[in-house]
């Protein structure tokens, strides 16, 4: 009996080894494990054995069934795996085949820069405030310590609509409006379009964009201004950038400074065209808010002090993205932003370069 069962198992194993499709496997299952199979026949034949032999033989037969079922299960898994592998192999695609990517647009370079700066300054607690582009002379000039016939007004060559209405020549009128309507502490930035009577060329545009910051509180110092702008410069230009304050003049700040940064082209080594050999590039103007401006805007200059800074976004965008001509920014050519096959916007390292 034991020998017969052993031979049967060997036979079934040998047959299983040759089965490589689900169909042949199923046929063998019927052949060996079906009701008409040899194990079932052996079970049926138990009655012919003696009562002493019967339990033992029953155990053998059941054990053989369990063993055979597990052999079937193992083989079935193997066959299924092979069949799946075969099917997958048949579905192989050319993963390098050129196809259209999902359409992806881009923000304008100025928006990209602005977004970055707003992130930085809002993280430092500045709130974005907006104001009109067509402004009263009062806010654009007078409250900022530039009374009528002030020579600094000339330099800005402002566009006028009427005697008292101008196209704002900087975003500072927003500061004046804010100082008049809020109480310190004030910590705001304003950004947007400004206008100056410059003919459009590679480095000028009658329409341009500025971002300005204003901080007013008790005990604000020029060193605080420097620390703030250093944080800005290192975020935008990298941690190795140095910041230099140089004395300057603006009617709305006193003391005033021009801010120079390490030249991004020569890294401060000098002798390059971008910085005209000085190793520094001028990026923004700033200073302590002139107490006269605070007073004009209803803030007690004996109690409060503050600083303000402002910069042109075009210049930042041109430096950042290597744009040589300011007119590109206002042309509306989608390829500049990367559209189509002629798209020229490029990520560093893209195309494996």
């Amino acid at each position: 009996m034991r020998e017969r069962i052993g031979a049967l198992l060997d036979e079934a194993r040998a047959a299983l080894d040759g089965a490589d499709t689900p169909q042949s496997l199923e046929a063998l299952r019927v052949q060996y494990l079906g009701k008409k199979g040899p194990l079932s026949a052996l079970l049926r034949g138990l009655g012919q054995l003696s009562a002493a032999e019967r339990p033992e033989a029953g155990k053998w037969i059941n054990a053989a069934r369990v063993e055979m079922e597990s052999a079937f299960a193992a083989r079935e898994a193997g066959v299924k795996k092979a069949a799946r592998a075969l099917a997958l192999a048949g579905e192989t695609l050319d993963v390098t085949e050129p196809r259209e990517d999902y359409p992806l647009g881009l923000l304008h370079p100025i928006s990209t820069i602005l977004d970055e700066l707003v992130d930085l300054f809002s993280g430092m607690g500045y709130e974005v405030v907006e104001g009109p582009e067509v402004e009263y002379d009062l806010y654009n000039f007078e409250l900022l310590n530039q009374p009528r016939h002030h020579p600094a007004r000339d330099a800005q060559d402002t566009f006028y609509i009427e005697d008292n209405i101008v196209l704002r020549s900087h975003t500072s009128p927003v500061q004046a409006r804010t100082m008049l309507s809020r109480k310190p502490p004030i910590r705001i930035i304003s950004a947007g379009r400004c206008y100056r009577a410059d003919e459009a060329d590679a480095t000028h545009s009658p329409v341009f964009h500025q971002i300005e910051g204003l901080y007013i509180d008790k005990g604000v110092s020029m060193s605080d201004l420097k620390g703030t702008l250093e944080a800005f410069a290192r975020r935008v230009y990298g941690p190795e950038v140095n910041v230099r304050f140089r004395p300057s003049f603006f009617p709305f700040t006193e003391p005033s400074a021009e801010v120079d940064l390490t030249c991004p082209a020569c890294k401060g080594a000098g002798g390059c065209r971008v910085c005209k050999g000085t190793g520094w590039v001028e990026v923004l103007g700033c200073g302590m808010v002139n107490p006269k401006v605070l007073e004009l805007c209803g803030i007690d200059s004996a109690v409060y002090s503050g600083f303000a800074f402002g910069m042109g976004l075009e210049r930042l965008a041109m430096q950042r993205f290597g744009i040589p001509d300011m007119r590109w920014l206002f042309e509306g050519d989608a390829r500049m932003l990367g559209a189509g096959r002629g798209g020229s916007a490029q990520t560093e390292g893209r195309r494996g370069e």
Partner: protein, 812 residues
């Protein structure tokens, strides 16, 4: 402003090389555009005395000279037309063998120097080169006679072998200063010298000023009356008799040339020299031409005419100040003298004028007449009345020095109302706190004194009187700047404000546009920035109806040209221009967007009045063209943008006249406000903008969105029960709008979850002028599983309503 370094050094020690000087001045706020070393590239050029001249044996135009160059006598061949046998004894500049000259003639400064080598010219030895003025970069105005066609011949003997550079005035360095608008006092040698001394820690000393008066009392020569003290707060005059008009000496010509001023004659040169040295403009005129020798400073009579020094006749108004004699205007105060009273060789009696004129008055007159002179520019920037007397005394001293005439006794000085100097009480602690730098009280006082301020220091306070030439200092903050800029901006620390923390945030408009721009970008949109200006003609391309307020846009008063003459009342032209540009540059299709203000002249329903700001309508304009772009795409983009802000709009047909009349729509909010207009561009308009094919636009009113947008406020439980779907195809007239049909389906029962149009068929099977629209309706209840018995009656009553309202019949 250009100034020769040698002139500055007369009054201040500058013991450092030019590049160090430049850097230190720049870091103290005295901008330097650059500096130029005159005579750069010239070396080894010496004075030579011509000992002999003979004709070149092998040339008809060359001469062979023998020249004493100090110690050596050399032979030099020249082809210059002014060297002949008669030139023996002349002193000339000689570039000896090994000398260098600037590359290129006329002092070319960008090419490398040329080295002179010994050689032979047609067989005759030539051991150097005789030089022309042009070869040495010396014009006639710097050295009279330098402009001659040929070799420069010195006007006087010099030691042979000595360097020609000091003789010709090309041994100097000229600095170009960029003076800040608040420092007109630095538009002068004294101003710069004073700053230099303070910056470098050396001392500044003005010259001792005195004059020998050898003519009669000034009042015998002229009388002065000022009729408008507002426009002329101070007028100082002095007279010169027996004027000896002649060229100025070399040192003065050299100084003027270095400052970029052309020397003319000693009298005019003195006025320019004083202006450059002191910063105070002066004028000299022929006193014999002044009727009755009367000088009247008055406003011009309306229509009065004056021929100015440039030979032009000017018609004046009573807003302009003139210098007049007993009868007529003889000069335009502070701007330009009159032709009639010009100094000439024959002038005998001269009046020197050194006045202070009101800067605004000068500015307005200069603008009105289109005249800008060195004097007017200085008066506009602000000339201190205090300095006029000193400037005049310096002029008188120079007349003595140049022996240009006899100085009359005394000066006329009309100065009725000198303003008292401000006294500034400053708190050193507060100044330090504003700097964030520890500058001791005594150091602040020292710095201020070095700049000419009178300072009393003690008890943590400063009591300061600014010097007369400083008109920009009247408060503590101004002193803080002075102290800090000389202590050094480089000493500023980097700290962050320690004030109360405040929440930083974007503005609501920015958050809105960020969201919309993010979506558009993800859908393949590119952002453009259009100009805020527009050419008036372009507005005419939009098919706008007569009376449309956009046809009366906001106009600029002082525009640069047509392109910047008005503010755009709509973003559409910029968008169409950009679409055309991209088409033209062969981009098959694109989606563009811009957010900006459109400037409207109707404010709150009324035309903008004088003195009122326009309405700035913040707008998002979207435009596109290309394969797959159609009306429904632009509508879909627009509606999805609004849906993102929680605004659901109904669609109404028709929009502005620049859209296709049958393919345009307005999106209307529940309260009836039009939130967006969109559609296909009218072909006439597209044609004018040179947009080919079909293009699509949408304009979204961001202000309207901001007022209505709603954030998601509640999340409902997702449906648990199965839905029942029914597809229905309805046949109706083609003119029936499907939007309202779908709306009716949606509103027919609370159990309708969604309605989706999945097919529209027009053709023979439904008949001409008819269409079949197939909708998939989904019914669902949040509470239970719906049965056919519930849904069927709903559908039947809906079909009946659709038949009644739209003539729609179930397609069979």
């Amino acid at each position: 402003m250009r100034l020769p370094l040698s002139w500055i050094k007369e009054y201040a020690g500058i013991p450092v090389p030019p590049d160090v000087y430049r850097d230190k001045m720049v870091m103290a706020g005295n901008g330097v555009e650059g500096y130029e070393e005159l005579g750069a590239g010239i070396s080894g050029v010496v004075v030579g005395r011509i000992e002999a001249v003979r004709k070149h044996p092998n040339s008809s135009h060359l001469m062979v000279t023998t020249v004493d160059v100090g110690g050596d006598v050399i032979q030099v061949v020249t082809g210059a037309p002014n060297i002949t046998e008669a030139s023996v004894g002349a002193y000339v500049p000689v570039a000896k063998s090994g000398a260098t000259l600037p590359g290129g003639h006329a002092g070319g400064d960008n090419s490398s120097p040329i080295r002179i080598r010994p050689g032979k010219l047609r067989g005759e030895v030539s051991d150097g080169m005789l030089c022309s003025g042009a070869e040495l970069g010396v014009p006639d105005s710097l050295y009279p006679g330098a402009g001659v066609d040929g070799i420069l011949i010195f006007n006087e003997p010099h030691q042979p072998g000595s360097d020609v550079k000091p003789i010709l005035g090309i041994d100097d360095t000229v600095f170009d200063f960029e003076v800040l608008a608040n420092r007109p006092d630095c538009l002068s040698v004294w101003g710069i010298a004073r700053e230099s001394a303070a910056v470098l820690g050396t001392s500044f000393a003005k010259p001792e000023i005195s004059a020998r008066e050898s003519a009669g009392p000034v009042t015998d020569y002229a009388s002065v009356t000022v009729l408008d003290y507002g426009l002329c707060p101070r007028y100082v005059a002095c007279a010169i008799d027996n004027a000896r008009v002649a060229p100025s000496p070399m040192w003065m010509r050299k100084a003027l040339r270095g400052a970029g001023v052309r020397p003319i004659n000693n009298i005019v040169d003195i006025t320019n020299y004083v202006m450059l040295e002191t910063g105070h403009p002066m004028h000299a005129f022929d006193l014999d031409r002044a009727r009755d020798r009367k000088i009247v400073v008055r406003r011009a009579n309306p229509g009065e005419t004056l021929t100015t020094l440039d030979g032009k006749e000017r018609t004046l108004t009573d807003a302009m100040l003139v210098i007049a004699d007993a009868e007529n205007a003889t000069g335009l105060a502070g701007i330009m003298g009159g032709e009639e009273s010009e100094i000439t060789e024959s002038t005998k009696t001269i009046l020197f004028e050194c006045a202070a004129f009101d800067r605004t008055g000068i500015r307005l007159t200069s603008r009105a007449l289109g005249m800008r002179t060195e004097a007017s520019a200085r008066f506009e920037k602000g000339v201190s009345p205090y300095t006029a007397g000193e400037a005049m005394r310096r002029a008188r001293q120079l007349v003595n020095l140049l022996d240009a005439g006899d100085v009359a006794q005394g000066m006329i000085d009309i100065y009725p109302d000198p303003k008292p100097r401000p006294v500034i009480e400053a708190d050193c602690g507060r100044m330090r706190s504003a700097m964030g730098v520890d500058v001791p009280d005594v150091e602040m006082a020292r710095i201020l004194r070095s700049l000419g301020f009178a300072v009393e220091q003690g008890g943590g306070k400063l009591r300061v009187v600014p010097p007369e030439f400083r008109q920009d200092v009247d408060q503590e903050a101004d002193l803080t700047e002075e102290a800090l800029r000389l202590h050094g901006y480089l000493t500023l620390k980097s700290t962050l404000p320690v004030g109360a923390g405040m929440p930083g945030q974007r503005s609501p408009r920015m958050r809105l546009t960020d969201a919309l721009k993010g979506l558009l970008r993800a859908w393949g949109g590119f952002e453009i920035y259009g100009s805020s200006f527009i050419r008036p003609a372009v507005l005419g391309w939009l098919n706008l109806n007569e009376g449309d307020p956009r046809l009366s846009p906001l106009a600029l008063r002082n525009y640069l040209g047509e392109d910047t003459s008005i503010m755009r009342p709509t973003l559409v032209p910029a968008m169409l221009t950009a679409l055309a540009l991209n088409q033209n540059r062969k981009l098959d299709g694109c989606l563009l967007f811009e957010t900006a203000a459109a400037f409207e002249t109707v404010v709150d329903g009324k035309p903008r009045g004088e003195g009122e700001l326009p309405f700035e309508r913040q707008t998002l304009c979207v435009g596109g063209y290309g394969a797959g772009f159609d009306f429904y795409k632009i509508r879909g983009i627009t509606r999805s943008l609004l849906a993102n802000r929680g605004i659901l709009c109904r669609v109404e047909a028709g929009a502005d006249s620049y859209y296709h009349p049958g393919r345009s729509a307005r999106l209307v909010a529940a309260d009836g406000a039009v939130i967006a207009r969109l559609g296909e561009v009218h072909p006439d308009v597209a044609e004018r903008f040179e947009v080919g094919g079909r293009a699509y636009l949408a304009e979204i009113d961001l202000g309207a969105v901001l007022e209505r947008q709603a954030a998601i406020s509640r999340i409902n439980e997702p449906p648990r029960h199965p839905a029942v779907t029914r597809d229905v195809a309805l046949v109706m007239d083609d003119s029936v709008q499907l939007g309202p049909v779908a709306d009716m389906m949606e509103r027919s029962s609370g159990l309708v979850e969604s309605v989706r149009l999945f097919d529209v068929y027009r053709g023979a099977q439904v008949g001409k002028g008819r269409k079949s629209a197939a909708f998939a309706l989904t019914f669902r209840s949040p509470e239970r599983t719906l049965t056919d018995a519930e849904v069927n009656p709903l559908l039947e009553s809906l079909l009946a309503k659709l038949a009644d309202n739209f003539g729609a019949a179930l397609r069979v």
